[in-house]
């Protein structure tokens, strides 16, 4: 049963991906600017050489043909070659997505653990001091721009205290201490919004569930607070889970600013520099990879919903 459900959801992904690829392809081509301009710089080049280069890069082909060529190569697993970086796009994205996953993973762990912890604590005694403090913190976390927070962290921990390196990433192979020292500030800056959002969602979802009739029944049965929380948490889970899926997606794709401030060589940084350089192949393939990741994450969350929520399961199979 679950197999058929999953298959149905997977098939639905195909048109979504095609649509996304067309939108991405067209969108970056209507951007003003010239993909050869950054490649050749302010000193330009003579038009004859430019023409040869444009032909080499395939920019002289009509747009639909360029799209089909791109799609054709994608189907064979070839994401293209970035002439701006002089690197295979697949290699670039492969390396970058791993680094972004490290950053997003660290951000997600910090953000979700802290957020769920704070949200649960706040929901326990709504309206009390702790609840209000958590709400204030959550609002702050959600509102502070991550790049600004990043710079404040750099000023405090790098320039003033000189505890942590200001930017860049260390390979795990070079030693876990150095690796963590480079990771902690960008992960914190990245996690701020997640902490805020998760805390708020967890809090409201739990409070809502606490107000439901079955909780009164449980209390009447004489269950302890901890036992009640377990039941409540299970019922509040779907909303929190949906939010977590979106947050992980956000952390994967939305860390452009943090990665730029900390010179973290991840996917966000890659796309940012690619857009500035009008590195068309790199932009379109990276965006596609992010879109695919989002769609797959949603798929995973949907599947998890089916597993944890019997109502969805029944609804889906009906």
């Amino acid at each position: 049963m679950l197999g058929i459900l999953m298959a149905r959801r997977l098939v639905a992904v195909v048109p979504a991906l095609l649509g996304v690829s067309v939108v991405i392809f067209v969108m970056i081509r209507v951007l003003p600017g010239d993909p050869l301009a950054t490649l050749l710089g302010a000193q330009g080049s003579n038009p004859a050489d430019r023409a040869i280069l444009a032909r080499t890069l395939g920019f002289d082909e009509p747009m639909p043909l360029q799209y089909l060529h791109w799609l054709g190569r994608l189907l064979t697993g070839d994401l293209g070659f970035s002439y701006v970086r002089h690197y295979a796009v697949g290699e670039l994205i492969g390396a970058a997505i791993g680094r972004t996953a490290v950053l997003a993973g660290a951000g997600a762990v910090i953000g979700l653990v802290t957020g769920i912890g704070l949200g649960t604590a706040a929901a326990f005694r709504p309206g009390r001091l702790l609840d209000r403090a958590v709400s204030a913190l959550a609002i702050t976390g959600m509102s502070v721009p991550s790049f600004w927070l990043g710079i404040l962290l750099i000023i405090l921990f790098s320039a003033t205290l000189q505890w942590l390196p200001a930017s860049g990433m260390a390979e795990l192979a070079d030693g876990p201490a150095d690796f963590l020292a480079h990771l902690i500030m960008p992960a914190l800056a990245n996690a701020a919004i997640t902490i805020g959002l998760t805390a708020r969602t967890t809090r409201s979802s739990l409070i809502e569930t606490y107000g439901e009739d079955f909780v009164y029944t449980l209390r009447a049965k004489g269950l302890s607070d901890a036992q009640i929380l377990r039941h409540v948490a299970k019922n509040a889970a779907p909303a929190i889970l949906t939010m977590i899926g979106l947050q992980v997606g956000y952390l994967l794709g939305g860390s452009v600013l943090v990665e730029t401030i900390f010179a973290w060589p991840g996917l966000g940084n890659l796309i940012y520099t690619a857009i500035l350089a009008r590195d068309l192949i790199l932009i379109q393939s990276s965006l596609l990879v992010i879109a695919v990741t989002f769609i797959l994450l949603n798929l995973v969350v949907d599947m998890l919903q089916i597993v944890v929520n019997p109502r969805v399961r029944r609804l889906a199979s009906a």
Binding site: H86, A166, L276
Partner: protein
């Protein structure tokens, strides 16, 4: 965009805290006072003795300290990525400076290990060269016993291979990107051949005395490496004959280079050279202060005073780099020379360099700075702030009440200085003579597309001027921006549409003139006319701001964008 916006904000902060560099140098040109922190007096013979040296800020004791060796130099570049190590690298002049010039040599490299004279091409992979009586056939004698980092022998065949790689479209290792990037440098090359293993012959299409300049831009890669790895994979194994060899290259993160033990010019003193991309100026600043890097390119301008107080080595040096407003001379109002000249008198350059940028720039009244061989001493600094003169010129041209104009400028980026706050000051200056200046910030790619397309392109007619950072440092590119050869769409990069047959003729004569002094005289004359005709409004000269740890010794900044790192060492 965010880092550019930050750059802007930080630069604006300089306005609020005008404390910069006051301790470092007098606000106005003044004679050098001697001592370690005064202007540098290079040991080499100087062709620029007339230059007001006080714009330089070089600690001579550190620059000439060659008492030690070893150490690791870690450079925080303003580039957004590690420049790829092709011939040439990308990421603009930072790529040439830190990657290209370190990994590769050229036939006739420019000598950057000197203080005050203007660097010119000299012996490198070629030991000497001469042009025949026909003024077309050049013979280069190549240095013997030089090996590429992979052990391949350097000889005339290797040079021919590199020419083929850039000029021969049917060559299996033809590299279209490198070819297009080298376009201008090889425009005049007609044929090339190896006469014998150590003699190369180049024929030019027309008499062309600047060929050594052109060859000074062409970096020579190992044919074995190119053949082994192919055009696309070569850069991961970039191999030249240069003073440093690449040992690690991770795109987006780091490049590491080790000294070339067998370098023909002597082994460099450093143990290691590490390059890191740090596009955000605040990040570079923090990295320098925390000791993560010991060489920072262009930190935020408002941090310079603090860095100086903290004991960092702040370096400023006059060199050919000019911020220019290139005007649309095709259309009104700038088709009229009087209006163009009025702008030259309307800008408060001194104010920009003292009050706004606190010593980080130098007023520009011509393309080159005073003392450069191409600076026209007759015209001198005629163009300076004179509001009445500007108003008079505008009135004579029929604009007694001024007019409205727009200027496009980049929001930031390497080499562009701090366009936002600078343009806001110019806006105020222009208001004083009745000109309503509209500021149009453009993101880099759009901006550069506009400049390359020029004002002849109908799409660009909506702007009257463009803020551009230009480097009148070396032929052949220098001439493209103001001669008819450079007119788009068939040429590049004469955006203004300015053509003066006399200037064209002088440049042409200079190309035909094989005596360096006479050549300089012709170009000086051309620069004088160019400045008078005022298709460019000259704003300021950049001073190549960089800040080093005190431990970095032996770096002598040259009057150039580029740097020789062979004598640099880092104290433990």
């Amino acid at each position: 965009m965010s880092n550019l916006r930050w750059q802007h904000l930080l630069a604006s902060a300089a306005l609020t805290f005008p404390v910069l560099l006051a301790a470092c140098r007098p606000a106005a040109p003044a004679p050098a006072t001697g001592g370690n922190t005064s202007a540098v007096n290079a040991p080499t013979a100087s062709t620029t003795s007339a230059a007001p040296a006080s714009y330089d800020h070089v600690d001579n004791a550190i620059a000439t300290d060659r008492t030690g060796k070893g150490g690791t130099l870690i450079v925080g570049m303003s580039a957004g990525n590690i420049p790829y190590p092709n011939t040439p690298p990308n990421e603009g002049y930072e790529g040439t400076r830190f990657v290209g010039n370190q990994i590769y040599d050229e036939l006739t490299p420019v000598n950057y290990d000197q203080g005050d004279s203007v660097p010119v091409p000299g012996p490198g992979l070629a030991t000497d060269w001469a042009v025949g009586d026909d003024k077309l056939t050049w013979t280069f004698h190549l240095r013997q016993g030089v090996k590429f980092h992979d052990g391949t022998e350097f000889n005339a065949d290797a040079v021919v291979f590199n020419f083929d790689r850039l000029l021969n479209k049917d060559f299996p290792y033809f590299d279209a990107t490198a070819a297009a990037s080298n376009g201008f440098n090889l425009l005049k090359v007609d044929t090339y051949r190896a006469v014998d293993p150590y003699t190369l012959e180049i024929k030019t299409k027309s008499p062309y005395s600047f060929l050594p300049w052109d060859m000074s831009h062409m970096m020579i890669a190992s044919p074995t490496a190119v053949k082994t790895y192919g055009v696309e994979e070569y850069i991961k194994h970039a191999t030249g004959t240069g003073p440093f060899k690449m040992t690690k290259y991770i795109d987006g993160q780091v490049m590491e280079l080790d000294p070339n033990e067998n370098y023909w010019g002597g082994k460099p003193k450093l143990d290691k050279l590490i390059l890191r991309p740090m596009p955000d100026p605040a990040t570079r600043l923090a990295a320098l202060q925390s000791g993560e890097i010991n060489w920072a390119e262009v930190p935020p301008p408002d941090s310079v005073d603090q860095l100086s107080k903290q004991g960092f080595n702040v370096i400023l040096k006059q060199y050919p780099h000019t911020i220019i407003f290139a005007l649309n001379t095709y259309d009104k109002p700038f088709s009229d020379i009087r209006v163009r000249q009025a702008l030259q008198y309307a800008i408060d350059r001194e104010g920009m360099c003292t009050a706004l940028l606190r010593g980080l720039c130098m007023p520009a009244s011509q393309y080159l700075y005073p003392g450069h061989p191409w600076f026209d001493p007759q015209l001198g600094t005629t163009f300076h702030l004179d509001v009445n003169k500007a108003k008079q010129l505008l009135a004579d041209a029929g604009y007694p009440n001024g007019f409205k104009m727009s200027i496009a400028y980049p929001t930031g980026g390497s080499g562009n200085m701090w366009p936002g706050p600078m343009m806001e000051l110019v806006q105020t200056n222009f208001k004083a003579v009745g000109i309503d200046l509209q500021l149009v910030p453009l993101e880099w790619n759009n901006f550069i597309t506009l400049f390359i397309g020029g004002f002849s392109d109908p799409a660009n007619k909506k702007y009257d001027a463009v803020y551009i950072s230009l480097a009148p440092d070396a032929p052949p590119f220098t001439f493209q921006s103001f001669t008819s050869d450079g007119l788009p769409p068939n040429g590049c990069c004469n955006a203004t549409g300015y053509v003066n047959p006399k200037v064209d003729e002088l440049v042409h004569q200079a190309q035909n003139e094989f005596d360096a002094q006479k050549q300089d005289a012709l170009l000086q004359q051309a620069q004088g006319i160019l400045a008078s005709d005022s298709s460019f409004t000259f704003a300021v000269h950049d001073l190549n701001l960089r800040v080093l740890s005190q431990k970095v010794r032996g770096f002598m900044p040259s009057r150039s964008w580029f740097a020789d790192l062979r004598n640099v060492w880092v104290k433990p």
